[in-house]
């Protein structure tokens, strides 16, 4: 039986979401823009899902624009806001060094177009401090984009305070909530942001659906142009089946949240305490900072993370490390490097990210396998080469 501890990468599809998606695939093939009954049925599925996704983040349904996923939502937020604000003499973005590649590479694209980008470093605990962001702002700042929870360490960022600072200089505030939605309460009003990204497949929904929440009254330019879908904000026939599953997953995430958080954090703590007790030279990255309840990022002294990941996979336990690059190999995480952790820590870090379907028995199986695997990797001596 394989064990899956990589829920920050993607989650298994919730059976109810699977049911909603397959039902839509089977029965609701209409184009939601069509006037006839087939179209109306598809539109009804979208509306229901929109209400559910809005409820998950404390928003009004009309503020939710469906996208093909979190990456598109992030691109939409940054590129759309940039296009809308450029003409007002605002050509500066403030973001952090620990963002997801969807934000980092989109900001780099703006930089190539002549925009100024300030990359705010985190503390050693992985927190982007409001004062550090505030210090980077000026009256040319168009957008501030700081993630709500970091995908690698799980550290939750002080978004409300950062949003206040952004608004003081008249900038728009975006947060990527892909890793926090469904794990901790996410309320767009409490966070005080203008734009917020979520993704279906991180909360038990299918791949291929996500959403950008755009606060009522905020105008950003569409990045996909075409038909008048999504109230003229995102062209392209809606992916009704995936969005139907997204809606159901959002509903389950919202209603189950308090209970799920308690359950998953108990498992995470069991895992973390167990690892620290059984393995010497293990360090939790992001320790001391507020974290989402499912994530534990642990470095193992004198161990190549790549070997540990493969060793665990061969034992049937799926974890992850750093960011996978195009070839599928692993590089030291840009997040851990930005936290200024020593090289020994960044090259030996494993991310365990749990979900509601994990069990104590699975955690105990990891705790039975991991210590001897770490010891074996530490004990391997180099095979002497002739020359």
């Amino acid at each position: 039986m394989r064990i899956y501890f990589d829920h920050n990468a993607t989650t298994p599809l919730h059976p109810a979401a699977l049911e909603a998606t397959t039902r839509a695939l089977r029965e609701t093939f209409g184009n939601a823009s069509s006037v006839h009954t087939f179209g109306q049925q598809a539109k009804a599925v979208l509306d229901e899902a929109r209400a559910r996704v809005a409820a998950l983040i404390g928003a009004e349904p009309a503020e939710v624009v469906f996208t093909a996923g979190g990456t598109e939502a992030d691109n939409f937020a940054i590129r759309g806001a940039a296009e809308a604000l450029e003409s007002r003499g605002r050509r500066h973005v403030v973001t952090s060094q620990i963002e997801h590649e969807a934000i980092l590479n989109t900001c780099r694209a703006l930089e190539r177009r002549g925009w100024r980008v300030t990359w705010v470093p985190p503390t050693q605990a992985g927190v982007v401090e409001p004062d550090a962001v505030a210090a980077a702002l000026d009256d040319e700042t168009a957008i501030v984009s700081i993630m709500h929870a970091n995908n690698e360490t799980g550290v939750v960022q002080p978004i409300a305070a950062i949003a206040e600072a952004a608004h003081r200089v008249g900038a728009l505030m975006h947060t990527d909530a892909v890793q926090s939605a469904g794990k901790i309460p996410v309320d767009v009003r409490e966070l005080g942001v203008d734009l917020l990204s979520v993704s279906a497949h991180k909360i038990g929904g299918p791949k291929g659906a996500g959403a950008l929440w755009i606060r009522r009254g905020v105008r950003i330019a569409p990045i996909l142009t075409g038909g008048r879908h999504e109230r003229n904000r995102r062209a392209g026939t809606e992916n009704v089946p995936a969005i139907a599953g997204f809606g159901v997953a959002a509903e389950i995430a919202r209603t189950g949240l308090p209970e799920h958080a308690v359950q998953v954090s108990a498992l995470r703590d069991r895992l973390e305490r167990g690892v620290l007790a059984a393995v010497s030279g293990a360090h939790v990255n992001g320790e001391g900072a507020p974290r989402v309840p499912n994530t534990s990022n642990i470095s193992f002294d004198r161990v190549e993370a790549e070997s540990l990941l493969i060793g665990l996979d061969l034992e049937g336990i799926a974890v992850s490390t750093g960011s996978a690059c195009s070839s599928g190999t692993l590089e030291p995480s840009h997040v851990l490097r930005a936290m200024r952790l020593p090289q020994g820590r960044t090259q030996s870090a494993i991310r365990f990210s749990l979900g509601t379907t994990n069990t104590e028995a699975e955690v105990d199986r990891l705790l039975a396998v991991l210590p001897r695997l770490v010891e074996k990797l530490r004990s391997l001596t180099r095979v002497p080469a002739a020359r």
Binding site: G311, L314, C325, S326, V383, A385
Partner: protein, 348 residues
């Protein structure tokens, strides 16, 4: 698993023989988007993709190991240093003995894999006493034993060459019969990190500066012209000298101290002897005294009969029975008894 047909068939044969097989590919240089020009056929993104498809077809796990750092530090650094020192290196030999059968074997041991199998055309035989012997691959045209002379007994005990007893045609037929996705993929030819054949550029970028140009002289020291850097030349080379002469001129020697190229006629390239350093004896110990063997001084060179005399703990003197053309410092001299590799070292 490089994504080529040889290592793919090697893996397939092991799976078919009932072994527990894990597919490993090595990523040896940065292959992110935008770097497309920097890598070529062997171990490129497409090749890693092919390796993954083959592993999936065989139903075995497959992982790509990031060995960029050790590859740069051992193979590429040595490659640049050798050219800068006026020698002509063989990076594939270093990659075999210092990466594949060192770092990679070590990583594999972490996954409880006792043996690293590759698609090399060479054969390992174990004698009654448990000693390993290294032989040429059965396919004389594809034989790669020349690149494996530096393996130690311990390394050989952890190595396997499942296609060594097959011809290339048999390997391809086997791949086709099993519909392996790489059955008709062309062979890779060039050095994997120099896909365009521009060695000089790689050497310059690794060293951080172009080695200086210098004089081209004849054997008496008379200056005939100038060159743009000794790293652009190898012993026996004719091209790129830009000299006008009644007879064709060849590089006879490269003198790194003064950045001088010495040139002469083809007959001046003939050598009766050379010294070989860092000699590895496959048996683990050097012979008691002089031996006779067939000595191969570059890939695809027909070995010449010679007498080999140890002159120090890992150094030998090789005296050929007949003169050899272009005995090139930095290339390997590999000693054969029939098709068995006795040992070898680097020509000094």
């Amino acid at each position: 698993m490089s994504g080529g047909v040889d290592s793919s068939v090697a893996a397939a044969r092991l799976v078919e023989a009932g072994h527990e097989v894990i597919g490993l590919s090595m990523q040896l240089y940065d292959q992110r988007e935008g770097n497309a020009a920097a890598f070529g056929r062997c171990c490129s993104l497409d090749d890693l993709h092919d390796a993954r498809r083959v592993a999936a077809a065989l139903g075995i796990p497959h992982y790509v190991l990031n060995l960029e750092r050790p590859f740069q530090e051992t193979v590429v650094a040595n490659f640049a240093r050798e050219y800068a020192a006026g020698r002509t290196p063989i990076p594939c030999s270093h990659c075999n003995s210092e990466l594949k059968f060192a770092t990679l074997v070590n990583r594999a041991a972490g996954f409880d894999a006792g043996t690293v199998a590759t698609g090399h055309y060479a054969r390992i035989r174990v004698d009654e006493g448990g000693r390993r012997h290294l032989h040429r691959g059965l396919d004389a045209d594809k034989d790669q034993s020349y690149f494996l002379f530096a393996l130690t007994q311990e390394q050989l005990s952890r190595a396997a060459f499942p296609v060594g007893d097959w011809t290339k045609a048999e390997v391809r037929a086997y791949a086709r019969a099993r519909s392996l996705p790489v059955a008709d993929k062309p062979d890779s030819q060039e050095i994997c990190f120099v896909p365009d054949g521009d060695y000089a550029r790689v050497v310059e970028s690794k060293l951080g500066a172009a080695p200086p140009g210098g004089a081209i002289t004849d054997t008496s020291g008379r200056v005939l012209g100038r060159h743009d850097g000794i790293h652009r030349f190898t012993v026996g080379q004719r091209k790129g000298l830009r000299l006008s002469s009644t007879e064709p001129l060849y590089v006879l020697a490269i003198q790194p101290e003064t950045a001088t190229l010495v040139v002469g006629s083809r007959s001046d390239l003939e050598r009766m002897d050379c010294e070989v350093r860092q000699v590895n004896w496959i048996a683990g110990t050097p012979p008691d005294g002089s031996i006779t063997a067939a000595v191969q001084i570059r890939h695809r060179h027909p070995p010449g009969a010679a007498t080999i005399t140890p002159i120090g703990h890992d150094r030998v003197r090789v005296v050929f029975d007949a003169p050899q053309i272009a005995v090139t410092p930095g290339q390997a001299a590999v000693f054969y008894d029939g098709d068995e590799v006795l040992g070898g070292g680097w020509i000094d």
